[in-house]
């Protein structure tokens, strides 16, 4: 043996001579596998115990008109990040404490349209913006102000609820729109047939064919451990924003100039709002569009250093232009959130919905807007009256 070889042998004697016992070729991979299973199992059980979730909604119905809820149905649900919430739907299937029947004499009625934010998803009824708005306006205006929460999903689905809304004889229609309501491109065929829902059959989810990779992906996506870990990581705004801005199409909403895909989305939205405004105008009902920011947008608003060509106000500006062009009122919540430090904390970290604290901001700005004289039913209410306090 040469000197060099002796040196090498001395340096790592075990490596030179030791051999792996045959049983270890089976045992070691088994230990690895078992470790992974135990880790996932234990963490999943623990996280599911602490961050409970129950989102199966027996009140929900999906048909040609899209999503809606069964009449007089009550369900108690919980998102992992939020508290237990009881959802009660009135005789029209709206999340409202009052009846959807003829409004009592002397009272005013607001109809709200929009997706999950509009229906106050994950928020107890009394803490939701519509409830706060209703009680505050009732107090200020000295008359009962009732809110009928006519939910929808995407803009087409919301548009198709218009007849239902008009039947309620509301004094004003509020349409709450968030960036994620517009992320999905509207099918041009569906847009053309927006007045004929029967001609555009409901898209039923195809039974997924689960390849092993898909199964793994779905398991990880559905994993409560992953959700809790995401929640922990994305509380850090820098990390959250860095990832969101690498998102491509969704994040392009905040990049200037707008991409053709986003221009197309806004053009479609403009078309729908135009039709909605015209129909409501014909019925003498004012339409107010409310731009509700998303958590990434709020994080951008409070960011000290914006990435180049990024404009967190882009969404609000586009919605405002559409509202102005179509003769609708407008509430700029993006602007309102920009005056609150760390306004991204007014959203749940992973599910992205507005928290009860954020509901107060929404209600306050709606109350202010409804008193500015543009909505006759509330024009007599004094502007000097106080709105709900921001926490």
């Amino acid at each position: 043996m040469s000197k060099r070889e002796r040196n090498l042998a001395a340096r790592s004697p075990t490596c030179q001579t030791a051999r792996l016992p045959k049983r270890d070729y089976i045992l070691l991979p088994l230990i690895s596998l078992l470790t992974i299973l135990v880790m996932f199992g234990v963490s999943e059980v623990l996280t599911r115990m602490v961050w409970t979730e129950q989102e199966v909604d027996p009140c929900s119905v999906r048909d040609d008109m899209g999503n809606h809820h069964k009449a007089n149905c009550t369900v108690r649900m919980k998102n992992a990040e939020a508290q237990w919430v009881t959802y009660h739907y009135n005789e029209c299937g709206y999340r409202s404490a009052t009846s959807c029947g003829t409004k009592p004499p002397g009272s005013a009625r607001i109809a709200t349209l929009g997706a999950s934010v509009s229906m106050g998803l994950y928020i107890p009824y009394e803490e939701a913006y519509f409830s706060l708005t209703s009680s505050e306006l009732s107090r200020i205006c000295n008359r009962i102000v009732d809110v009928q929460n006519v939910e929808g999903t995407g803009p087409i689905n919301v548009y198709r609820k218009l007849q239902e809304v008009l039947a309620l004889k509301p004094d004003v229609v509020l349409y709450l729109v968030s960036p994620f309501d517009l992320e999905q491109q509207i099918d041009p065929k569906e847009l053309a047939e927006r007045d004929n829902p029967a001609r555009t059959p409901t898209k039923t989810a195809a039974k997924p064919t689960l390849s092993p990779m898909k199964w793994l992906e779905r398991t990880l996506t559905e994993s409560r451990t992953v959700l809790v870990y995401q929640r922990f990581l994305f509380q850090n705004t820098d990390i959250f924003l860095r990832l969101y801005m690498t998102y491509g199409d969704n994040a392009d909403l905040f990049r200037q100039p707008l991409t053709p895909a986003w221009q197309r989305r806004f053009a479609h939205f403009d078309l729908i709002i135009g039709d909605m405004a015209a129909k409501l105008r014909a019925a003498g009902v004012p339409l107010v569009i409310i731009a509700v920011p998303s958590r990434p947008e709020a994080a951008l608003l409070s960011s000290k250093q914006l990435p180049p060509n990024v404009d967190p106000f882009a969404f609000g500006r586009q919605i405002e232009m559409i509202a102005s062009r179509q003769g609708a009122g407008y509430v700029d919540l993006v602007e309102a959130f920009s005056h609150i430090s760390n306004s991204e904390n007014l959203f749940y970290v992973v599910n992205g919905h507005v928290t009860p604290e954020g509901q107060i901001v929404i209600a306050k700005n709606i109350v202010q807007k409804l008193q500015d004289g543009s909505v006759p039913a509330f024009s007599h209410c004094a502007l000097s009256q106080s709105a709900p306090e921001e926490h």
């Binding site: 075990t14 992974i36 929900s60 229906m119 990832l243």
Partner: protein, 478 residues
């Protein structure tokens, strides 16, 4: 390419496979050189950007050949040229800006190439190097992609023994397993531990600006200063773990760079366990020659210990200076130098005052060790303030606290680190006391397999979540 990313691991995996196709020296030389040059190529697409680095490497090779040719009169000028070229290329702030090259160029790895080049020139001058160092061997040694970014600094003889030997280091299943274990541990340290520690420090820094309450301010101060050494350790030693693992798969055994440094009970021991290869390099090429020269100049045995104190100061002042180009690193160097020299002086004086035996007994006492460990950590933490911040940040930190709050922060760090490190040592000892099959259970192959699997799962999940898209709003209920 991220320094401890999936990209690096994928690249290394490809290199390892190609490298091990043949055991011939020429093949190993060729693949390592190609891999190292390609690795550099990830950092710039412009060939001109590599010109200064290439020139420095060319200077090193010429210097090596000149020394090997026995032209000893060129030795000092070569050292001076090498040091000046390094300082100039690294744009040290004390040089006028007008002297610098103004087009962008790659300096990645220059700090470590500098050490390797000086080592070759000095050892060639003293005749300690093998004669036959070809350009390819030289480039492989200086540019080896596993040690280019952050070391460790390997001696040429050791590198050549493994890379140029006709019988390469063995690569059996146990070696592969051990190498993968190092990579996994390193990956976890960098991508999980150091990541979360950096978040804690950043949050504390941000809260300092936004929290007016004094209690949370002091807590933030403790976290800002106290967390950084842990972050640095996880980040740096983690990267070293990764490259040691990768290099071993390339049949190269790199020297260790860390040996549980926070277990050290004095600053001198600390630096023999932290960035070990840098300390050894400086001991060989700065401390020893300086001490010898001083002892020749002042040969009295009475002053010899004080000369050691002086040599320690100079050596570690240079360590501090080497870490950065701005004036804060002068203070960093002074603090490191003071830490080393005062420790040495204390050891000399204590041995003199209470006697060597009593001093040895004192240093063996557990309670003494608890506090000296805490003191070592605290001094290192304090010195690092001038490592990770600039003057503006230091001024902000100074403005944020009242003098008694500053005292409270440092006393808390000292006492807290004393207790935590003592607990850590005790827990570690307790865990290692469980034996199985004649060795500690924690070191058994089965436990390590389970442990590494857990680290892989957490590390991979973290990296995937941090590189995947942030969650979209979900309409589960609608």
């Amino acid at each position: 390419m991220g320094s401890a990313s999936f990209d690096l691991l994928a690249y290394a995996a490809a290199v390892v496979i190609v490298f091990n196709v043949s055991k011939s020296i020429a093949w190993r030389q060729f693949v390592l050189l190609a891999a190292s040059i390609a690795f550099l190529g990830f950092f710039s697409l412009h060939p001109l950007a590599f010109l200064p680095l290439a020139a420095f490497l060319g200077f090193g090779f010429i210097g090596l050949r000149v020394m090997q040719a026995g032209k000893t009169r060129a030795f000092v000028p070569l050292l001076i040229i090498g040091i000046v070229a390094f300082v100039w290329l690294k744009k040290y702030a004390f040089l006028p800006g007008s002297l610098f090259l103004h087009h962008p160029y790659v300096t990645l790895g220059l700090s470590y190439i500098f050490f390797r080049v000086l080592h070759l020139i000095i050892d060639a001058h003293s005749g300690d190097l093998p004669k036959e160092i070809t350009l390819v061997s030289y480039l492989n040694y200086t540019l080896n992609f596993t040690t280019l970014v952050s070391g460790p600094i390997q001696r040429y003889e050791e590198f050549a023994e493994m890379q140029l030997g006709s019988v390469p280091l063995p690569l059996n299943i146990i070696v592969v397993g051990q190498a993968l274990e190092r990579i996994i541990i390193g990956f976890f340290k960098v991508n999980v531990l150091s990541f979360f520690l950096s978040i804690i420090q950043t949050r504390a820094l941000n809260s300092l600006a936004s929290t007016p309450a004094r209690g949370p301010q002091v807590l933030a101060g403790i976290l800002i200063a106290g967390v950084y050494p842990l972050y640095l350790y996880c980040n740096f030693s983690g990267y070293i773990d990764i490259v040691i693992g990768i290099a071993r798969l390339l049949r190269i055994e790199l020297p260790e760079n860390f040996d549980r440094p926070f277990s050290s009970d004095n600053f001198i021991t600390f630096w023999s366990r932290w960035h070990i290869t840098l300390s050894n390099w400086l001991k060989t090429y700065v401390y020893n020659p300086l001490l010898m020269a001083s002892m020749r100049r002042w040969p009295s045995p009475a002053v010899a210990p004080l000369l050691g104190v002086f040599a320690f100061f100079v050596t570690f002042f240079l360590v501090g200076l080497w870490h950065g180009q701005t004036s804060v690193f002068i203070v960093f160097g002074v603090l490191l130098g003071l830490g080393m020299s005062v420790t040495k002086l204390y050891q000399v004086l204590m041995a003199k005052w209470i006697g060597r035996k009593q001093y040895r007994e004192l240093t063996g006492h557990w309670l003494y060790n608890v506090f000296t460990r805490g003191l070592t950590f605290t001094w290192f933490t304090f010195s690092l303030l001038w490592f990770w911040s600039n003057w503006a940040q230091l001024a902000f930190l100074a403005r944020s606290f009242r003098p008694r709050e500053i005292a409270l922060i440092w006393i808390t760090i000292f006492l807290g680190s004393s207790v935590i490190l003592a607990l850590w040592e005790a827990v570690r000892e307790w865990l290692l006391s469980f034996q199985w099959g004649g060795q500690p259970l924690l070191l058994s192959r089965y436990f390590r397999t389970a442990w590494c699997t857990a680290l892989v799962v957490i590390g991979a999940a973290t990296v995937m979540l941090l590189n995947g898209p942030a969650p979209e709003v979900v309409y589960k209920a609608i």
